[in-house]
Symmetry: C2
Subunit: 273 residues, 2 copies
């Protein structure tokens, strides 16, 4: 077994940027084991010294040199953190100089900026999109006219988390259409969906996995039965094929990956929040 | 007015890492204007050549050299994309060599890894946390015993998006407690919350902003009135102070920042998904 390495995501703000890139980097070293810690809002000298102390002590206790993935914008804070003796990976440093040269402008080192202050409009778009996703979940109170995308699938194939993610991160108004037994009796689109063909994206799933998910939700119900799952998935996939809907299997996919595929397939270009 | 620069987030996977760091970098050049585009799942030579074409043509059309923020792991794909003539910023490259040296291991260049395949347990934890947030939203069907955190605030102060974000990104079981008129008649905690003191986190908001948000939701209602907002916020803040609850004002804060503060204040250490 390989040694356990302490990793610290250190930031003057939320640390989301540091953690996102740090996590991506670490997954490329699959043979190693990491213990990760987040130190957010390290935005003055005292907090930076406290952070350095904690990092150094953790390294001593674990007998392994810590790795710091830092997004602190102020070089003075970075220098204090580096006194911990950790390997310092500054996620912005390598890109600032080439960008300054290319843009002919100096960067402004405002602290904690990326995920910090927001204007009312931005906040509102996200919240409205999220409220839309929550009130249009599983076809309860549906107004498909206002939807940017409508996810079509059998129950528990991944529609709700994908809708919420699209709303929260892209301000996309995403609605659900859960296929019912009645819908699955034919291989044609339900009449209610036909006017919205260009907004439709179909999700499917391995019947074994669906069975596993439904079983956790409603153990030993008819709904969770392997037989039911097989039948529903086969009927849904037949419909998606006949109607030529863009279709993605969610089995083993992350919510991020499903959401990205929906956006790129339907050509929805929104900035990520 | 400064020129408009085309920026492309290019990735062999979802592009979330490239877009997260790219966005953080661009916010440090506040004087510039950028037009951003996402090119996800660029995972073979043909797609890389198509991407390079599109990038080059956009630059020509806009009369400005494009900037590419790339998280493609395969150097051959990066080389093809670089033929677009764009300024190439590879988000992994600067960190791989120091990490390889530190860890004594070569990175494995699996494509699209960070936000790609996931195991069942991980997926399930996220989904369960999200279902928890959705069913415990605004005190509907509440089981606070199972909650990791309970957000306390008046209606529309930011509880729901924060709960959903905490669930989706950290697998945190976050519940809501919306303060009612009855609760606000005293400055003591509602009896139902008292057993859970260590899980409580209070949100407050500028009354003007609350008025603006409620006004959009239920125009000209008593609920949205400036007077009501002022009274509710003052009463809630008095309670938070008397009860010494950790409190954050959500005015002008992003969902990410609110969520990060909740985690760091309550000492909740979870890895980000």
């Amino acid at each position: 077994m390989s040694e356990l390495r302490p990793v610290f995501y250190v930031s003057d703000g939320t640390g989301i940027t540091a953690e996102t890139i740090g996590h991506s980097l670490l997954t490329q070293f699959a043979g190693m084991r990491f213990q990760t810690d987040r130190l957010s809002f390290v935005d003055d000298g005292e907090k930076a010294r406290d952070a350095a102390d904690r990092i150094r002590r953790t390294g001593e206790r674990m007998g392994a040199r810590p790795i710091v993935v830092s997004s602190c914008v102020d070089p003075a804070l970075s220098a204090l953190i580096a006194e911990s003796g950790a390997l310092m990976l500054d996620v912005f440093a390598p890109f600032i100089e080439p960008l300054e040269r290319e843009l002919g402008e100096q960067r402004q080192s405002r602290v904690g900026q990326a995920h910090g202050l927001v204007d009312f409009d931005t906040y509102h778009r996200r919240i409205n999109a999220m409220n839309f996703a929550l009130t249009h979940d599983d076809g309860m109170a549906v107004n498909y006219d206002e939807a940017d995308v409508i996810l079509v699938a059998v129950s528990r194939a991944g529609k709700t988390p994908t809708c919420v993610y699209l709303a929260l991160h892209y301000g996309i108004r995403a609605a659900n259409y859960p296929l019912t037994d009645g819908d699955l009796e034919t291989d044609r689109l339900p009449a209610r969906l036909r006017p919205y063909r260009r907004k439709l994206f179909a999700l499917t799933i391995d019947p074994e996995r669906l069975h596993q998910i439904r079983q956790e939700r409603r153990p030993n119900s008819g709904y969770a039965k392997m037989e039911t799952c097989k039948r529903e998935v086969a009927a849904a996939e037949a419909m998606f094929q006949v109607e030529r809907l863009p279709t993605l299997s969610t089995t083993n996919k992350s919510i991020e990956e499903i959401s990205s595929k929906v956006l790129s397939t339907l050509g929805l270009q929104r900035e990520m929040y």
